[in-house]
């Protein structure tokens, strides 16, 4: 895909480096842009500034010892990543999980998803020049984080999953408090619509900008709201259901245009769907143990059978996959993490050229990239 750029002689392009440190809140992303006047000719992402060798660490730690690493890969979907590792190991070892834990994991994951999307909305609007929604989103996130803190003891990087369930049970008061948080969130949707989505300035900045076609998405392996904003209704929770998700009714918001506004709209709708799931899960929360009674917990080291296993979940950014290669020991031989932000960032080298520099920030923001999960 090349746009017809007007030729001038001589070919007059200059390189602009959006260095790893810059005011946009996307982590240590470095974009090398070559510009002709205001138009972007090429855009290359330079990654690796946040590499912490998670995959190598997985080879030197037992399956339980790796638990704290999981949340730190994508710290905004920390709960989802923690549970993904736990569930991947459970599936490979054949560990049964009680119903209560399955439903509790869904509730906590969906709250995590909502808090991640709220943060994204705030940061995205901040990139566009409106500082206020950031604070409103933080207020809502505070309610969610306080709730999750009361359950797990942590606010951002959770380590509450254990093989066979969760480490701490939900207390009796949890459903009431969770419903309060949900009510507070629902009261806010309307406000966000009036302040952001209906706003003519926002619409002019977001509509028709950063077009990402369906074919580009599929060829790069883009997933998550970025993909659903280009018209493909793929969500791991529906395509390859896991955990307790098959028990709940929810939709997959999709929008065909593939512009920045579509990706924004998809995420806002996803938050509404997450609330729907949470309400159903709170109704259905079964009584019982929170961890399998015969679980060895962490007192003995878990040995997984020889083999290879791939397990995927839907994180806030898309399809997160864990590949575990086990040689029968207490530590994996190899653990590979397929993180959604990696191809989501790569597709930008095709999306950005042809756009103006002023839109680059908006497009980058709309893809919701978390650098640490790209670099692991």
């Amino acid at each position: 895909m090349t746009t017809d750029l007007p030729t001038t002689e001589p070919l007059d392009t200059y390189t602009l480096n959006m260095g790893p440190q810059h005011p946009s809140t996307h982590g240590v992303l470095r974009m090398l842009l070559t510009l002709r006047g205001e138009q972007i000719v090429t855009a290359d992402a330079v990654i690796g500034y946040s590499h912490r060798a998670h995959e190598k660490m997985a080879e030197n730690r037992t399956y339980a010892q790796f638990l704290p690493n999981t949340s730190r890969q994508d710290y905004l979907s920390g709960m989802i990543y923690n549970f993904a590792w736990v569930e991947a190991v459970e599936k490979m070892a054949g560990i049964a999980v009680p119903d209560r834990a399955l439903v509790a994991r869904v509730i906590l994951s969906e709250f995590n998803r909502i808090s991640s999307h709220l943060l994204w909305i705030g940061a995205f609007l901040l990139d566009l020049g409106a500082p206020t929604p950031f604070l409103y989103c933080w207020d809502d996130r505070e309610a969610i984080l306080f709730l999750l803190e009361s359950v797990t003891g942590s606010r951002l990087t959770y380590c509450t999953g254990r093989f066979g369930g969760l480490s701490k049970d939900l207390d009796e008061d949890f459903p009431r408090r969770a419903r309060e948080v949900v009510a507070k969130l629902k009261a806010r949707w309307d406000e966000y619509d009036r302040l952001i989505e209906d706003n003519v300035i926002f619409r002019n900045r977001a509509r028709g900008v950063g077009l990402l076609s369906r074919d580009q998405c599929l060829s790069f392996g883009v997933t998550g709201p970025t993909l659903r904003g280009s018209g493909v209704a793929y969500d791991v929770r529906k395509a390859e259901p896991y955990g307790a998700y098959p028990r709940f009714e929810f939709d997959i918001p999709t929008r065909p245009e593939g512009d920045v506004f579509a990706r924004y709209w998809v995420r806002v709708q996803e938050m509404r769907q997450s609330v729907r799931i949470i309400e159903q899960a709170l109704e259905q929360l079964p009584a019982g143990p929170i961890i399998a009674p015969d679980s060895i917990g962490v007192k003995k080291r878990l040995k997984l059978p020889v083999g290879t296993q791939y397990y995927a979940v839907e994180s806030a950014r898309g399809h997160y996959g864990i590949l575990i290669v086990s040689e029968g020991g207490t530590e994996p031989y190899r653990a590979k993490f397929r993180t959604p932000s990696y191809p989501n960032l790569a597709v930008l080298s095709e999306v950005l050229p042809g756009n103006m520099v002023a839109d680059a920030v908006a497009v980058l923001g709309s893809v919701d990239v978390v650098m640490p999960e790209i670099d692991r």
Binding site: T132, E142, V151, T152, C159, R194, V298
Partner: protein, 151 residues
């Protein structure tokens, strides 16, 4: 040039936005004025500490090093000794480097005597790295097993 309808709609959307922020302008603040007001940390899982059991009035660490072995980040430094006439070992040195601790809670889960727990502390900032090493035995200046009060 845009149609009058679109102009009117756009203008109305701006007024609606102003309405939202205007409403927030007159409502009370939601932030906590930190040093003067403190947050509710009753559920917070803070730096690891030793539990004081009401029956014995002291901790129950037997210096088995299970927590040190399971810790993914090598945070623990534990030494123990067996008091005269006692059946079990007691910890004589228990250091936890909080600067590498990730609060994963595996040590709490693995402890055979359930003597570890999360504390409620949250403002642990220090000026020097050496100050981040917590001495978990500091709240227990006298060990009744060593002084002979308990066996």
């Amino acid at each position: 040039m845009m149609l009058p309808g679109r102009i009117a709609r756009g203008f109305r959307s701006l007024l609606a936005g102003l309405g939202v922020t205007g409403r927030h302008l007159v409502r009370p603040i939601v932030t906590l004025q930190y040093p003067h007001e403190r947050p509710d940390a009753s559920h917070w899982g803070g730096p690891i500490e030793l539990v004081t059991f009401p029956e014995t009035g002291t901790h129950d660490c037997i210096a088995c090093n299970a927590c040190a072995r399971i810790c993914p980040s090598d945070c623990f430094e534990i030494e123990g000794a067996r008091p005269e006439g006692a059946r079990k070992m007691r910890a004589t040195k228990f250091l936890l480097d909080f600067s590498t601790c990730s609060l994963c809670g595996l040590c709490i889960d693995v402890c055979p005597t359930d003597t570890l727990q999360y504390s409620k502390r949250y403002d642990e900032a220090a000026y020097q790295r050496v100050q981040t090493v917590n001495d978990l035995l500091a709240p227990f200046p006298e060990d009744p097993y060593f002084t002979g009060k308990l066996t």
